[in-house]
Amino acid sequence: MIAKSIRENLQGMWSLLVGMKVTGKNFVQPNITVHYPRQTVASLEGYRGHVELVPHDKDPTKSKCIACSNCVRICPNSCITMKAVKPKKKAEDKEAAGDQSEGKKKAPAKKAKPELQSFILDYNYCSLCGQCAELCPTGALRFSSNVYLAGFTRQEFVIDLLARLQRQAQTKGAPNG
């Protein structure tokens, strides 16, 4: 019994040496961490930042949004508020505008489309589920890839996406992703 115990303990000691060999081997191998401020990670593809408005094909300061407020209704945390005014008449069209107006948006002369005034996202409460972007009939919402978003107050995360879109359009013709 003693012999067995000794053998077991010797094997145990050997296993400890094996463990030290593993850590020793790792010790001499190069780092795998990214030195953040000097390097940045490459794997940002697919990263979901807050949602942003997709600029209109013709006018980069305008959004594709038709103010159907599907996104407002689906949002689990009610973090989207949108303000839109309807130019002139035709009130009854606004209900139908939500569903299938893919083709109609190119003909602004006929229908009185609601004009988007502001599109405010309260990013503090967003759970990034992506249902607003999926549900959008015109594809006017997408995820930004802004990883380095940081702020000191909660107020900084209440973002007017339309203003942001216009700002982006002004600073540069191309969207910065």
Binding site: T23, N26, F27, Q29, P30, N31, T33, H35
Partner: protein
């Protein structure tokens, strides 16, 4: 007037100042080393931002600890509470006085050097005990209880593993023990006494509360054990003394088993420092590799394995000497 001050006292005071500086310097180097080694084992850079390659990190840590609020828990005996870290630190400094760093670099060459070190390192347990008891915290109390039984238990195999060396050299004088060994590795006592060295090393880990024997401060069980409540310099002193005891253990190990300052080609303090740091590196390496043992296992290792083995080793050594 001048003659009235004994030269011994002057040497001692200068020596004390020097050892204090040495302890501080060592702690700084060790903190940095430990964090860097841990980093590399984890495949990360370790401290990197403060100074080139994070070399100033220990200073930043120190500054932070000094700047922290000194906080005494409600209901704690504040005198004893703050005495504990000092009791922990003071003996560590004394121990360095008798360590021969080089052929001509020793503050006090005394015949009871080894006994002095073994005696003074034992005082540390008192600090643990006081800290745990006066913290008015159940975790601290449990940590202290663990610390006391661990230290007391491991004193025995530690002494038993040192005894063969004393029998072989016939002296407690650390300088003589070092000079008793040759310059080349095969002339060191580690070759003739490998078992004693292993037992000594395990006991040294346990006595200095290093992983895998860091039970008194077992983070995942007792949050931080006996120093749970300490903040600022109180914690810093415990921290410092822990590293100081590590260095002492490594120094004694280097002297007893690795020939101290003796080394190939030219003897000197450089060999001594190199050996000490190799031992320290192994301690750090062990810490970042193994899980923690359980308390009863810790005592089982001591009573069932280390003490019998140490006694066996001692008897064999005596037999060989007698023959």
């Amino acid at each position: 007037m001048i003659e009235a001050i004994p030269i011994q006292l002057v040497i001692m005071l200068v020596g004390l100042a020097a050892t204090m500086a040495f302890v501080g310097l060592n702690a700084i180097v060790l903190v940095y080393l430990e964090r860097k080694v841990a980093g590399f084992i984890h495949r990360r850079p370790g401290p990197y931002e403060v100074g080139p390659h994070g070399i100033l990190q220990p200073f930043a840590d120190g500054l932070k600890l000094v700047g922290k609020q000194i906080f005494t828990p409600k209901g704690a005996d504040s005198f004893l509470y703050w005495l504990a870290p000092m009791i922990s630190m003071a003996p560590a400094v004394v121990c360095f006085l008798v360590i021969p760093f080089g052929p001509h670099l020793q503050i006090i060459n005394t015949n009871v050097g080894l006994v002095l070190i073994l005696a003074f390192t034992g005082v540390n347990v008192l600090a643990l005990c006081i800290a745990g008891w006066t913290s008015q915290n159940k975790y601290s109390l449990l940590g202290a209880a663990r610390g006391v039984s661990q230290s007391v238990a491991y004193e025995i195999p530690l002494l038993l593993s040192v005894l063969p060396i004393i029998f072989l050299t016939g002296t407690f004088n650390l300088f003589d023990i070092a000079t008793n060994q040759g310059s080349w590795p095969w002339q060191w006592f580690v070759v003739t006494q490998p078992l004693a060295f292993i037992i000594f090393f395990i006991c040294a880990l346990a006595e200095t509360n290093r992983a895998p024997f860091d039970l008194p401060e077992a983070e995942s069980e007792l949050t931080a054990g006996f120093h749970t409540e300490y903040s600022g310099m109180g914690f810093a002193l415990f921290f410092l003394s822990e590293y100081a005891y590590m260095v002492i253990a490594a120094c004694v190990g280097a002297i007893l088993f690795l020939g101290g300052f003796k080394g190939p080609i030219v003897d000197g303090w450089w060999w001594f420092l190199a050996k000490v740091y190799i031992l320290l590196l192994i301690m750090i390496w062990i810490r970042w590799t193994f899980p923690r043992v359980r308390f009863d296992q810790l005592l089982n290792i001591c009573w069932k394995w280390l003490i019998p083995l140490a006694i066996l080793n001692l008897l064999i050594t005596l037999l060989v000497i007698a023959l």
